[in-house]
């Protein structure tokens, strides 16, 4: 018979597995045995509608703009004059003409080149940090600024501690006696008490 606590102990374990699966999401492109030089074996049958003419040329330019040229770092396939980029763009055009949609084409190139080939890292796994990191850093900075301003304003609004007056004396009776003596000698106050308070 299973211990009643067994299912409870399994919960964090499942959460860990779920987290691992989430972080492992970059691997979520079609797995074996579908690998092949023929795109349909990697991404399945075309999901979009076949394009032609000017629409095809314009769309090919857009999709090629999302692919990183493998031989020239930092340039998109659309922008690079390298032969490899020209060939890749030709294949993008060919795939669009056959009805493959943008995501299928990106996944096809990603299958052979890895995530590197996408100019924009897709929103998955650790890539969330790339997208959300700057926003989170900005929010954290704004929070620090707001917190500092608020504590400064609060400090300014706080009433100042009253300045010691002529009849204020320290709590220490010995020190108070000395202060009175000094006041008596310096100002001529009898017993160190200011004239108005003495009357």
């Amino acid at each position: 018979m299973r211990h009643p606590g067994a299912s409870l102990r399994r919960t964090p374990c499942l959460a860990l597995i779920a987290a691992t699966a989430w972080l492992g999401a970059p691997l979520a492109i079609p797995q074996e045995p579908s690998a092949g030089g023929e795109p349909s074996r990697v991404v399945g049958p075309p999901r979009g509608s076949a394009l032609a003419g000017e629409a095809l040329t314009a769309r090919a330019e857009e999709v090629a703009g999302l692919l990183r040229c493998p031989v020239c770092q930092g340039l998109s396939v659309a922008d690079s004059p390298a032969t490899m980029a020209v060939n890749m763009k030709a294949q993008v055009k060919d795939l669009l003409a056959r009805g493959y949609d943008q995501e299928q084409i990106l996944v096809y190139f990603e299958h052979s080149y890895g995530e590197f080939v996408r100019l924009e890292p897709p929103l998955r796994g650790v890539n969330w940090l790339v997208w959300l990191g700057p926003v989170m850093a900005l929010a954290a900075g704004a929070a620090v600024v707001a917190w500092t301003l608020r504590s400064r304003r609060r400090a300014a609004e706080e009433p100042l501690a009253p300045l010691p007056g002529p009849d204020t004396l320290p709590d220490d009776p010995k020190l108070a006696r000395h202060v009175r003596r000094v006041r008596e000698l310096a100002y001529g106050w009898p017993h160190g008490r200011p004239p108005e308070s003495s009357s």
Partner: protein, 187 residues
């Protein structure tokens, strides 16, 4: 009349909170940078290693009958992407030819021409010697399917058609031997 300066110059304690926040920001950056210190940013791990090799059907130089990867099953395949204009390819050529001759029927050696003219390739092979076919790859479709970044790149495919290893750059005798072993070739 001045009362004299009564404000005390309090020594500021070492701000541990600022130090902690600084560490939280800086430590992950330092960790990421040190972890990647030994990594060559130009070598990107191929996602194809361990997967089935993309199939192809390409005709060899001076031939018309296409060579398909499927027809090479049953023996390890050394698939070398190369070009005559590539100096490292020239350097590894003699090694590949002698390995192909030495292994004979135990492994298939196949060249795939990367952005080069067929005539140039035939002249090069006539001059430098050849022991295996080099295939013409129109539009670099096969190079794209294998995720080629540049030449030379060599794929080691096992007898079942899975990519066992990939080598970027010119091969030397020891890396060729190690990767042939990975593709299932007994020493």
């Amino acid at each position: 009349m001045s009362e004299g300066d009564v404000s005390e110059a309090k020594p500021r304690p070492f701000n541990q909170r600022v130090l902690l926040v600084g560490l939280v920001v800086v430590a992950p950056l330092v960790a990421v940078l040190t972890m990647n210190l030994g990594r060559n940013p130009h070598v990107i791990a191929s996602p194809l290693v361990g997967r089935a090799a993309p199939d192809f059907g390409l005709r060899p130089t001076g031939g018309s009958e296409p060579v398909t990867l499927a027809s090479l099953r049953g023996r390890p395949v050394v698939l070398n992407f190369w070009a005559t204009w590539c100096v490292p390819c020239f350097e590894e050529h003699a090694l590949l030819v002698s390995a192909a001759r030495a292994l004979g029927a135990r492994a298939h050696f196949i060249g795939v021409i990367y952005q080069d003219g067929e005539d140039e390739v035939r002249a090069f092979l006539a001059r430098q010697g050849s022991a295996y076919p080099s295939l013409v790859d129109p539009g670099s479709r096969t190079a794209i399917a294998f995720g080629i970044f540049g030449v030379p790149e060599t794929f080691f495919i096992d007898a079942e058609g899975r990519i066992a290893a990939k080598h970027v750059g010119p091969l030397d005798a020891s890396s060729l031997e190690a990767k042939l072993r990975l593709s299932g070739l007994a020493p």
